[in-house]
Amino acid sequence: MAACFWGREAGGAVRVTVNGQQKEEANGTTVADLAASLKLDARNIAVELNRAIVKKSEYGSTVLHDGDTVEIVTFVGGG
């Protein structure tokens, strides 16, 4: 029970919806962790958690909870 899972307690997982897809993430996963696991550069995305935009400065401290809905839009600048 106390085993460490990527540095976190393996005390369970949270079920979240990311871009419309159901996903399981380890307890304690933050928005920054999620972006990194999706190989997204946090500098050019917008993240919405339960319909509210998450400020970039808060990606690392915003922890996902069971039932959360996350939408990530990658911002591309070409024309």
């Binding site: 550069d41 917008a46 935009i53 939408e71 839009v73 911002f75 591309v76 600048g77 070409g78 024309g79």
Partner: protein, 252 residues
């Protein structure tokens, strides 16, 4: 946020003035769709010349036009396609010194430019000038699009705060653009501009569409204004066009 009536921004089609900022990958399909839409005036702003490497996605330009200013080539296209209105060309890079004057001449602005810097500059100028604005960006197989009613619906800075730092994002030149992906997004931009002019309630305002041609998916994400937005929030930090707000891009 109180509801607003998009009819406030409606303009009769034959008198309508549309600015397409950028006559490249997004601007070409947008101009092609606008050419036969019956608008009164089409403005085209671009400082670039037509290059052979542009032609796969910048479909209004032709091989014989390589080396011509894109504005002149776009004007030729509009005349060729029977556009009966007036064409205004701005063969210049839009910058903090001229952008307010240019966007103020138009009823709706299509963001078809190709740098984050220009996109944020256009966003801010349109918010400050009170002009509706149809944003899009494209790279490789994907892109995003959103329609903005100044101080009524979410703007680019409500979502993205500021341009990504130089070097964090590949450019069109480095990464390439699927011509057809730009075609899809540019055509949607034209449709959005016409819906703004018609006062339709169903524009992509307070909604971002994330398009991915790999999966052919259109994901619509509802968004809302940020009261802390630096340009359209309750205490805006940006109230005029200043160079300091638009750091130059590495490949500008």
């Amino acid at each position: 946020m109180a509801a607003f009536d998009p009819k406030e921004f409606a303009v009769p089609r034959e008198r309508a003035r549309v600015l397409v900022a950028g006559a490249g990958g997004l601007g070409s399909p947008a101009l092609a769709a606008l050419a036969s839409s019956g608008v009164g005036v089409i403005g085209v702003a671009d400082s670039d010349v037509v290059d052979l490497s542009n032609l796969h996605r910048q479909v209004i330009h032709v091989t014989a036009g390589v080396g011509l200013p894109k504005t002149a080539s776009a004007e030729e296209f509009l005349k060729r396609s029977g556009f009966g209105g007036a064409v205004l060309t701005f063969q210049t890079r839009l910058d903090t010194g001229n952008i307010m004057e240019v966007v103020s001449e138009f009823d709706v602005v299509v963001d078809a430019c190709d740098t984050f810097r220009s996109k944020f500059m256009l966003n801010d100028a349109c918010v400050l000038a009170g002009r509706p604005f149809v944003h899009a960006g494209v790279l490789q197989f994907e892109g995003q699009i959103m329609t903005i009613y100044p101080e009524r619906t979410a703007c680019l800075r409500c979502l993205f705060e500021s341009p990504p730092p130089p070097g964090s994002v590949p450019t069109c030149q480095e990464a390439g653009v699927l011509g057809a992906a730009a075609g899809v997004l540019g055509a949607i931009q034209a449709a959005e501009a016409l819906k703004v002019l018609d006062g339709k309630k169903t524009t992509l305002s307070d909604r971002v569409v994330a398009f991915d041609a790999r999966h052919m998916s259109f994901r619509t994400v509802p968004v809302s204004r940020d009261p802390g937005c630096p340009v359209c929030g309750t205490k805006p930090r940006i109230d005029s066009m200043e160079d300091a707000n638009y750091p130059p891009e590495a490949c500008d």
